[in-house]
């Protein structure tokens, strides 16, 4: 296809480099420097999508970030990129894109039937229509709405692209490289400030690229180029294009998304697709410019109706005509700039100006060029379905209430200008209470909340001279405060055309008997009639009107719709805009890809992975790992074709019969030192600690102040003022913070220091009847007999040349020891234990066997200490001292905690001794009771008892103490199981605890 709408010359594109691309399955050509939008328009393609609600045809409305229509789905390097604005997507060789929101295709879209049924789609239609019957919502309405609504389709495949995060600090962050951004950046840079200048587009310069102005002796565009190239050379300045600062957060933290590779056919090796910058700036300059406001008239959403500034941009930057018979509809002088640009390129535009008799330099220039201008004229309605073919225009009365002399004129595009809206999103996000400026009919920033300054058009200043003057000054002032340097910058002279005042008129009345849709929000299909309806139905607050009609709620965040929507509400309510107020601007200013937000923190990188020093031994010996917090722990060691159940049973049995070894490095360890350590432990734990002798360990339970068990573990007195505390793997960090809290804030008089030593020690638990025999061989010099090293004893020894600490403690309920060596020697220790243990039939065991061993012993762990239970519930009340005070003690006398039928841990066995009880099952009295069946409690942990070779579970149930011997039911609605069970003691194996003391 040839490019019928490309001019022979002009624009900033590289005409020497032709680029081919594909849109909706058709091949087209464009040039390097084009956007997808400019290249499509050059090829005469204006139908690019369908609207959200009515599926009306959609074309291009803008040329940049404000674009509400031209959202396409990209296919780049076999990756899907949904919801890309065609106006911001640079063209590259082989680009593939297609329309969204249409089915089966953009030309023939079944959803467009909504347009003819639009009586049934009034404001709030989702709320009204689909309320009942309730079951219809899930089955009928929702799936249909989901198919019909929404934009692009996300891929369910893993995104292979890389996204990165960067943290940056600077003196000045400047958001936008138009005249105010360039001037302030330049001035600040001269004072040595560290400056980041961010530009959303691929080209720097903003409005200077399209305006007819002279700065010094250069054109605006030349001046912008010169300033940018100077800034790029300065070491204290970072200049970024394709970078959108989209969020202004607390304490001057801003977030910027940099599109690094989106404009390339393929991401380069070692560079990411996008980078998210977290920037902490001492000062922020908001130089985000302004966006042209639409005028509202019948069918103003027809493809071919677009902002006049966009038409000018397509002409001046891309050398592209948006039409050959343009109609320009304006209420201010900006429309004339576009008209003159058309005329200079040999196209005859017609200008409709709502004003009666305006006068200015630029209007005179248009008149001198013989441009056809009609004053006091408006567009009543655009005609044409998939593209503007003509327009009904009319004369408008002086009071703007009546139209007359309606006639139809031929045109192929309608360029509208309703004056300018400052882009105040970032200022508002920072907390700036904006104010309404009557002169420009728009909100501008007022009192700064954070360290932010808004300059130029974003601040409602629409003359270049004033913009440059204030921006150079602010750049100097703000940087001077920070760097204390004061290098003067001279402000260049400016030549620009003076404008006359704009007309406050913005919405064309409907002609008699016509019911044209007049759109306010182009992306969410919100029309004038929807706002009127919402107000008729009693919605008053602009926030409510917004949510009810969805005005300004689309992905474009109301960039083109907000002010006209407010005007509409003000008009109907007979208020002025500042009384109505605007809705809150929230980040992000533009949509941000999920990939950029997530960054590198995906999959295994979403959190750190901690491995014990013995990890590679486990790996080599067929360990199957499980996540335990951030740790990877062996779940079981697979032999042959064993499954989890078989392997863990074998491992647990071997512990009960011979000896097993388990990696317990992951246990939290805290080193406690200081003369008041004993007193401190006595306050932290529920049991007594003052009399624990040196060389002895003790099991302890600690509570939160509300009486709930926080953690348990053993603590050993290494020497007079030195203790070694262990915590559960999961609670290690919380326990340390808890101890620090009491030492630093509650009892600062205690002379105690705590520090985490988890990483310092590698631990191996040796458990089973043969463990002492093994220990004797590991430490031949030590007396490890029952008298030499009794239960809860502690010793230091030498393990084949390595210092070791031996604790006689047991989690498995067997005769057991825990050996710790410095982490670096962990693997050495492990190999020695395996080597020496061979004659005792040693086998390593994983967390699954460990669970089995503790469950059948009735030792409570994380699934019972679940943040909802007190010591009594876990049968730990024997460890609660009656004599001394400790953290949480006062709560234990709460009424709820001392009721007679208080919940307690029990054992549960299926009557058939075969059916395993799913964890989480309810314990109920009557399996056939009416739902919801009153539950007595829940099953907290289940195992296959290796001692008795049948299933065994722990449960925490109401009045557990008196339930022993009862026949009840375990019910799992999730697994659809009802299992008859008997309640037994939680201490299923060795209830007297003889083995650990043997």
């Amino acid at each position: 296809m040839s490019e019928n709408f490309r001019l022979d010359k002009g624009g900033l594109i590289n005409r020497n480099k032709k680029i081919s691309f594909n849109f909706n399955g058709k091949k087209y050509f464009g040039y390097e420097g084009d956007t997808l939008a400019s290249a499509l328009i050059a090829n005469g393609v204006h139908l690019v999508g369908r609207s959200f609600k009515y599926h009306r045809p959609r074309g291009f409305f803008g040329a940049g970030v404000d674009e509400p229509y031209a959202i396409v789905q990209m296919n780049r390097n076999n990756e899907v990129d949904p919801n890309v604005r065609a106006t911001e997507q640079d063209l590259f060789e082989g680009l593939e894109a297609k329309s969204v929101n249409c089915w089966p295709n953009v030309d023939f879209d079944i959803g467009a039937i909504n347009n003819f049924l639009n009586k049934f789609f009034p404001a709030g239609f989702y709320y009204k229509t689909f309320m009942w019957p309730k079951s219809f919502w899930y089955k009928v309405y929702e799936p249909i709405i989901r198919k019909a609504a929404g934009f692009g389709a996300a891929s369910i495949k893993h995104d292979k692209e890389r996204y990165e995060h960067k943290y940056e600090y600077c003196d000045l962050l400047i958001t936008g490289s138009g005249p105010s951004g360039l001037a302030s950046a330049y001035a600040a840079a001269q004072n040595g400030a560290k400056v980041i200048l961010a530009e959303d587009k691929s080209r720097f310069g903003g409005s200077l690229l399209t305006s007819e102005v002279t700065i010094g002796n250069q054109s605006g565009q030349e001046w912008a180029e010169k300033i940018i190239s100077e800034l790029k050379l300065m070491p204290n300045v970072v200049v970024k294009n394709r970078s959108q600062v989209f969020g202004y957060y607390d304490h001057n933290m801003l977030v910027m998304s940099e599109r690094i590779s989106d404009h390339l056919p393929k991401t380069k090796k070692y560079s990411p697709k996008q980078r998210l910058w977290y920037i902490r700036a001492k000062e922020v300059i908001i130089s985000s410019g302004s966006i042209e406001r639409p005028l509202v008239f019948g069918n103003n959403d027809t493809p071919g109706v677009m902002l006049s500034s966009a038409a000018k941009e397509y002409l001046k930057i891309y050398g592209v005509l948006v039409g050959k018979k343009p109609l320009i509809f304006t209420n201010n002088d900006s429309g004339y700039e576009t008209a003159i640009e058309f005329k200079k390129n040999g196209i005859d535009p017609i200008v409709l100006d709502t004003r009666k008799n305006p006068n200015s330099e630029i209007i005179k220039e248009a008149k001198d060029l013989n441009i056809n201008i009609k004053f006091s004229y408006v567009v009543v309605a655009a005609k044409g379905y998939k593209k503007v073919k003509s327009a009904d225009i009319a004369k408008i009365s002086e009071d703007k209430k009546n139209i007359s002399n309606i006639e139809n004129i031929q045109c192929d595009c309608i360029c509208v200008s309703g004056f300018w809206t400052p882009t105040i999103h970032l200022a508002s996000q920072s907390g700036n209470k904006t104010k309404f400026n009557e002169k420009i009919d728009a909100f501008i920033p007022s009192q700064s909340k954070q360290k932010e300054t808004t300059l130029g058009a974003a601040n409602g200043i629409f003359t270049l001279e004033e913009t440059l003057k204030t921006s150079f000054k602010k750049g100097s002032e703000l940087s001077k405060q920070i760097t204390k340097e004061d290098n003067k910058v001279s402000v260049p002279t400016v030549v620009e055309k003076k404008s006359s005042n704009h007309d406050k008129f913005w919405c064309v009345p409907l002609p008699e008997g016509k019911n044209y849709k007049r759109f306010l929000d182009f992306q969410n299909d919100v029309a004038v009639s929807d706002i009127q309806l919402a107000l008729r139905e009693g919605y008053r607050s602009i926030e409510h009107v917004k949510r009810y009609t969805t005005l300004g709620m689309a992905t474009d965040q109301g960039k083109t719709s907000n002010l006209n929507g407010l005007q509409m509400v003000s008009d109907v309510e007979n208020k002025v805009v500042p009384q109505v107020g605007h809705t809150t601007f929230r980040p992000p200013y533009t949509p941000v890809s999920i990939g950029a937000i997530v960054g590198r923190e995906i999959g295994k990188h979403s959190k750190p992975t901690r491995k014990s020093p013995m990890h590679y031994w486990h790996e080599k010996n067929n360990a199957v790992f499980v996540d335990a917090g951030v740790w990877l722990r062996p779940r079981y060691y697979k032999q042959g074709n064993e499954n989890l159940f078989e392997a863990s049973k074998r491992e647990a049995k071997n512990v009960r019969q011979n000896v097993g070894v388990c990696d317990v490095t992951t246990l939290g360890k805290i080193d406690i030192k200081g003369p008041d350590s004993a007193e401190f432990l006595n306050r932290v734990y529920t049991n007594a600690w003052l009399k624990l002798p040196v060389g002895k360990a003790r099991y302890g339970v600690m509570l939160r102040e509300d009486g709930i068990v926080m953690d348990d573990g053993t603590t050993t007195r290494i020497s007079e003022n030195h203790y070694h505390m262990t915590t559960t793997t999961a609670q290690a960090a919380n326990v340390l913070s808890h101890l620090e809290y009491y030492l630093q804030l509650v009892w600062p008089e205690l002379n105690v220091n705590v520090v985490s030593s988890t990483e310092q020690w590698a631990g191996a638990a040796i458990a089973g009847p043969n463990s002492r025999n093994l220990l004797k061989k590991l430490f031949p010099d030590l007396n490890v007999s029952n008298e030499g090293l009794p239960f809860m004893g502690y010793m230091e020894g030498n393990l084949f040349g390595v210092n070791a600490k031996i604790y006689r403690i047991s989690f498995s309920g067997e005769l057991a020891y825990e050996v710790n060596v410095e982490s670096d020697h962990g693997n050495y220790m492990w190999e020695k234990i395996m080597e020496v243990g061979r004659e005792f039939n040693i086998q390593p065991y994983g967390t699954e066997a460990l669970s089995t061993l503790r469950i059948e012993m009735g030792h409570v762990a994380g699934s019972e200490l679940d943040g909802r239970t007190i010591p009594y519930d876990n049968s730990l009340d024997g460890l609660v001292s009656k004599k001394k005070d400790f953290i949480g003690k006062r709560s234990l006398s709460k009424t709820a905690y001392i009721t007679k039928d208080r919940q307690k841990v029990v054992g549960v066995i299926p009557l058939d001794k075969k059916t395993s009880i799913p964890e989480g099952s309810y314990i109920v009295k009557d399996a056939k009771a009416k739902l919801p069946n009153p539950k007595l409690g829940h099953v907290s942990a289940s195992c296959w008892s290796v001692e008795y070779d049948n299933p065994f579970s722990l449960a925490i149930i109401k009045d557990g103490k008196n339930m022993i011997g009862q026949k009840l039911f375990a019910m799992s609605p999730l697994k659809n199981k009802i299992i008859p069970v008997e309640i037994v003691s939680s201490h299923y194996v060795d209830p007297k605890g003889e083995r650990v003391r043997s």
Partner: protein, 88 residues
């Protein structure tokens, strides 16, 4: 993300800290009679002021000290930060 000045380390980003609640709450002394009402107030009841609030933060990824931060809960403005043993 807040920018909190740790009195020991200097200005750091919020993600180095963890929040610890109202700093004005005093734990009843050990071994002293406490009424049910007073104990419940200490354990459960916290004010949720709109505006100035003295609160605890712990610099967990830094010096691990608990610090006091006087912050506006509405605007997030931080007026001052103090060491654990300092009073406003």
């Amino acid at each position: 993300m807040l920018h909190i000045k740790c009195p020991h380390c200097g200005l750091r980003s919020q993600n180095e800290f963890s929040y610890g609640g109202d700093a004005t709450v005093k734990r009843p002394e050990l071994n002293k009679e406490v009424s049910d009402q007073d104990w419940d107030n200490f354990v459960y009841l916290r004010k949720s002021p709109r505006g100035k609030h003295l609160e605890l933060w712990q610099h967990i990824s830094g010096c691990r000290q608990w610090i006091k931060v006087e912050r506006d809960t509405l605007t997030h403005e931080i007026f001052k930060t103090l060491k654990a043993n300092e009073e406003v």
